[in-house]
Symmetry: D2
Subunit: 311 residues, 4 copies
């Protein structure tokens, strides 16, 4: 449930206001040069998006195993991020309240018990562990000449209300993946990517290449014919670099839609455990726009997906 | 690779022009009333969409195990569909050619060998096994009051060329799923659905609830507030019935974009094994529009996804 | 549940008196020369052990997919064995009876329903599918210079009663496995072998190398010191070729104890569904000694275990 | 590779002389009363066997997630044990040496790189994480009335040399498991147990019930007939409580043979990386007999196996 991947796997843990969050990467090849700076830089990219929360996450990532004299051992790489500055009292009133659009109610239905502080396990803070796993995956991809670049393609327009939160779309391009990566039928590379990306908090749509626009095309318009057979380059890339679930050597291109963070500074009606409605004014800290800091999370999930299939 | 699910699993096999296609359902609960008619009806829905290929698939599904005196045993349910009317000679010229937009080239790169007849393993014919698995899943869901209904939401407009193929969008609604189904973080219900649906041939986009439109919303517009706490009904369903990866009891709604079938009756340039381009006029049989017959495939994948998480 | 392996996988199905038994091999590498005779020969080894049942299993194995022009495609290889000569009436009286030592009672408790004819899914006939999977694994191992040889090490002594059944011990040696195959901690090669072998019907004990005798040794006696460093050969092989769960390049040696077939031609007390005891005289056909025909099953499970870890 | 189980899973990490060892339990049911004392007591049982090493493992287990106000949340339970008193200099000379009977050579062949200090990942210290996972599993089993009791059945006789190490046999009995637990064919309860137990360092043999003695029996002697149908109790328990891979409600009984710790205080010939032999006098600390402290590890693996199948 809390594990990603099949050969290169990341198992994560941690509640927003517990002692720590972290994870274990199992299946990392041995002998990879371990680049601690890459982890720090990726964590910084996650931290300093426009509109980052005021809660200062001095997120120091400690590596507990799997690295010896600067290289990976092939054994599990465990890492840990201690939680700090967690003002739990901000959340006391939520012990009995379910916020609209959040996982408060669904976690209660799923488990019958929940940590109400800061979203508990469902907090966006969970994505920090994804970024560490992604940074380790990028160390492997870099040695193979594969690069992953994401960016914000679109943000919801301002409604002149700086208190409100905004959705947006992130586009990501993966270059350098050789032809022949992926599996047929159920375990397709595009299916793997879709699951990886849709598991990111607030992801609500996913498309490859031409995506939903392809639904308005006819076959003779859509199909990607070859322009250069020597390197199997196509005139167009409507398919987004994947055919039959397997990479064709062209750049892998996908876009993801993210809905806005549901909690902002406007009062909202919460459902109480006793089934009554209560107007609630959030006291916590929230992103007005979390899309820019989510780019590195998208890249991380894409990186782990590719490494898992390359292994 | 050719297996779907974790507890209720479907393993499929078969090339388009081999002796048979089929599959094994493992993890089906014991004692379920086995409804052979449901399988026949679902196979018919797949067969008779508008613009179905002329190749007459007299697809008789034979059950080989797992059913005893009208009920499931809890042991594997194997089924088989013998291939008939397979005019392989239609495909001889493709032994050395890769068709644009098809998986011919990627399979060759992945395996170094391929069955060139009718797309081999990558043929749309593979979806017949999905439909059988989905029908068995629906037998279980029916006993639990869960129903799945898909339909064609949009088709590419005719360009007055009845030889060309068309893309489209299918919408699917799942009702009756109780709150609390799904898992956190990586194994979210929406991530599972995305992978299941994106694994369908020609699927190229997926969105839940408001989907890409949510990327243009602000938080106070997006969040689904409750209208009726007694049954946890919300005024809107922008999230599509899932929060934090877990169902909230509202209808689960998603849409999928399908690109047009890439091979139609127009000549196209194929890449030969020797790296030269060849104009090719398809002789095989192709759907002008496969979207209507794909609806039952979408439902099948959704049904197996829900059953897998209920088990 | 009915699937073996993680990369080279075998999923089996079938009840003893249903239409067919069979399986699907998924994860077989592409381009392997497919040797149908090896399958036939291995099936024959399973069929003609001393004391084989009189039920003549004319077991023709039909390959339904995954093989094209004499080589594997890398896609699933499905095979099927139709059941013949199944005299179900032999078993009518067992509909309400649980035989001692059989899985009749435990299947009823596990599933609430069972196919009482000939042991249903729990019949030793299920091992035919293992033998086919093992034969395919051996095609791969042969190309890598790995061979697997089993033999009967010990049989229970005759008690001058030719109607009774006998237990025994099978020893198996795997040669040609390079050093470095296997995984640490939980997924050890010896743990994998133990699970594979103990899953064979009537297996009740498993040991590597010196096995239980090693429990009576002291460390300076047990440890395998090197005699030839150039090829890492050790003076002794008490560990059975595996250290820390990983092969060391020496022959992999293990032994398996099998209990006698519990049903013979002597009357025995069965428990009825209503909780009463009934003396029952078996009418079916049973091996007086199934150990010799089990050798090929042991080899098959070992072969699939090695291939799965090599993949 | 470093993960145990399918529904109740334990992923472990850590090298003997790295910063820490630990693990993540994923799949623990929600609402279980979390008993920290049970963890401490089990860790103590592992620590104080006769002949425990002099290295004082002040093993404090810190829980990092998954527990809230004294109950499990259903989210991952991460725990960590910091390494202390790790005198790495004891092992400097082993950087270029492979000890006989250890995993030094096989890890080098598997990964091409290894942490030579104290056995690295292959150190017996790894079992501490198993004990924590087992303690959490026992918290669940206790609520279900299932108990697991192991003991030393046999120890290698003293050869009047208190410097040498000894092998032995541990017997374990699981009571309170209802009939119907386990799966058919490949995923049998006995196969699961065999893999779990054989994954313990120095385990070299495994048997259920009558075990190897059953190989000398005839069918009419072996089969377990019922003495009391009202509670399905059998006169004998030669099968060890499992038939067809599924529990029958009788006590589950198994025995495991352990070879002696290979390193003792006697000089031994090691193979150097350059392929030469070197006489080596161990300086580290080693158990003269590790069997008594291994009992709790056997129980832990059995407990996790049962919980995984109950989930």
């Amino acid at each position: 449930m809390n594990r990603f991947g099949t050969r290169f796997t990341l198992t994560t843990y941690g509640e927003s206001h517990g002692p720590a969050i972290g994870g274990v990467v199992d299946g990392c090849p041995a002998g990879v040069v371990f680049d601690g700076n890459m982890i720090a830089n990726e964590m910084l990219r996650r931290h300093i998006g426009a509109g980052a929360t005021k809660r200062c996450e001095a997120d120091t990532v400690e590596i507990l195993s799997g690295v010896f004299e600067g290289r990976t051992l092939g054994t599990p790489i465990a890492f840990e991020i201690r939680n700090q500055d967690a003002n739990s009292s901000d959340y006391d009133e939520l012990r009995e309240l379910y916020r609209p659009g959040h996982a408060d109610y669904t976690y209660a239905m799923r488990y019958g018990i929940r940590d109400h502080r800061g979203g508990g396990r469902a907090s966006g803070r969970e994505t920090a562990a994804r970024v560490v796993g992604g940074a380790i995956a990028k160390m492997i991809l870099r040695e193979k000449g594969i690069s992953i670049n994401g960016g914000v393609l679109h943000l919801a327009e301002s409604n002149n209300d700086n208190d409100d939160t905004k959705g947006g779309v992130i586009e990501c391009t993966i270059t350098g993946v050789p032809a022949g990566i992926g599996n047929p039928v159920f375990d397709k590379l595009n299916a793997r990517l879709a699951a990886a990306i849709m598991s990111i908090p607030s992801a609500i749509g996913f498309e490859m290449g031409a995506g939903f626009a392809a639904a308005k095309m006819c076959g003779s318009e859509y199909r990607d014919e070859w322009s250069d057979c020597s390197s199997a380059i196509t005139k167009t890339n409507h398919c987004g670099g994947i055919q039959g679930g397997i990479s064709n050597g062209m750049p892998i291109v996908f876009r993801t839609a993210f809905h806005p963070v549901v909690t902002n500074n406007k009062p909202t009606e919460c459902m109480a455990v006793d089934g009554t409605l209560h107007l609630w004014k959030p006291k916590g800290r929230h992103d007005s726009c979390h899309i820019p800091r989510t780019v590195v999370v998208v890249e991380a999930m894409a990186a782990m997906t590719i490494v898992d299939l390359l292994n």
